[in-house]
Symmetry: C2
Subunit: 210 residues, 2 copies
């Protein structure tokens, strides 16, 4: 079996779906977590393929970019959809999450980090974030209503479910998702987190805001 | 053979790599171009899976999200890399382009559209866009130097080459890429555009700014 090393910060965010896939598949990996501010990141940044993490190292071969890593592992472990059409939908859903994270969500994270006032952050949430989140939630809810299996694609779990569910957890930890208001999304999260290997990891993993 | 219909606006942008893949593979498709302002988009928007285009329709089955479409076609037509590792790198490169388009590039397009002054746009270009572009160009150039084949992944063309090359064309048409300053990138574009089926399409296609 190849030796897998996954390098990221001590956050869930862009690396967590890959960690979950390892646990789901029962495949051991080294979960390398860079600590902010201790100088490690500055030392390794230029040695990464794209100057960023996560990076997955497989016997020395490196893959940069989170979705590429997730798709690679999902394909290898059998969670990428059963047909090219299912895979395309899993891909499309992940990119929808990505678009949502890249702009409406990131804007808030950045605003908080640069020290905007509570009022400014709140305005950003109401005007920029909420419409983006609602449009995205509507899409995911509609897919769940249509697909019937309780998962987003086909009749079993795919990387798309994992990406969406982890995104919900991050939103919830930042008071941006109230599970009781979105029963379909909450049910998806419960279903995914009820899978024994995932449940075990979710209970054991480091508790981080992002 | 399935019936393919690709719906987008009358732009290259997020749909053009899919169009090029059809031409490269010699597979016929219907190239549906929505005209801005004639009311068509407002009529069909809510009928698309994610409220957006491009959408690829294959005998009635729809795929939303541009990269999902491109990857689906590339896999089907044999341009998605020869191994899972090559595919992961093609994926990673596409997502790097996507990140670059989603923020530094989009910021400029939006600034122009909302009527910012030339001075404001120019400031945005110098402070936000140029550092993002240079970091992205450095990554792509380094990949080309390392890979040796003249293509980005493995020894033949993949969807990653097509996505990068089309992005260069869009930048050039908006005075944001000067081919003579980036010989490695210019060489990649020449190599891709020299492939007869692509050359023929590039010469014949509608000339649009984006």
């Amino acid at each position: 079996m190849p030796t897998y090393k996954l390098t990221y910060f001590n956050s869930r965010f862009y690396a967590e779906p890959a960690r979950i896939l390892f646990h789901l598949a029962g495949v051991p990996f080294e979960d390398i977590r860079i600590i902010h501010g201790d100088g490690t990141w500055e030392q390794i940044k230029d040695k990464t393929p794209f100057g960023q993490v996560p990076v997955l190292n497989i016997n020395g071969f490196e893959i940069p970019q989170s979705t590429a890593i997730i798709r690679y592992l999902a394909t290898k472990f059998g969670y990428a959809g059963k047909t090219p059409e299912e895979q395309a939908w899993a891909d499309a859903i992940c990119d929808q999450v990505r678009d949502f994270m890249a702009v409406p969500f990131k804007d808030i994270v950045v605003a908080k980090r640069v020290g905007k006032t509570e009022e400014e952050v709140s305005q950003l949430i109401n005007e920029g974030f909420v419409p983006g989140r609602d449009a995205y939630f509507k899409i995911i809810t509609r897919i769940l209503e249509k697909n019937k299996s309780g998962f987003l694609v086909g009749d079993g779990i795919t990387f798309a479910d994992i990406v969406v569910v982890e995104n919900l957890t991050t939103l919830q930890k930042n008071q941006l998702f109230e599970a009781s208001k979105y029963p379909e999304l909450a049910a998806l999260r419960e279903k995914v987190y009820a899978i024994p290997a995932i449940k075990k990891w979710v209970e054991a993993r480091p508790d981080t805001q992002y």
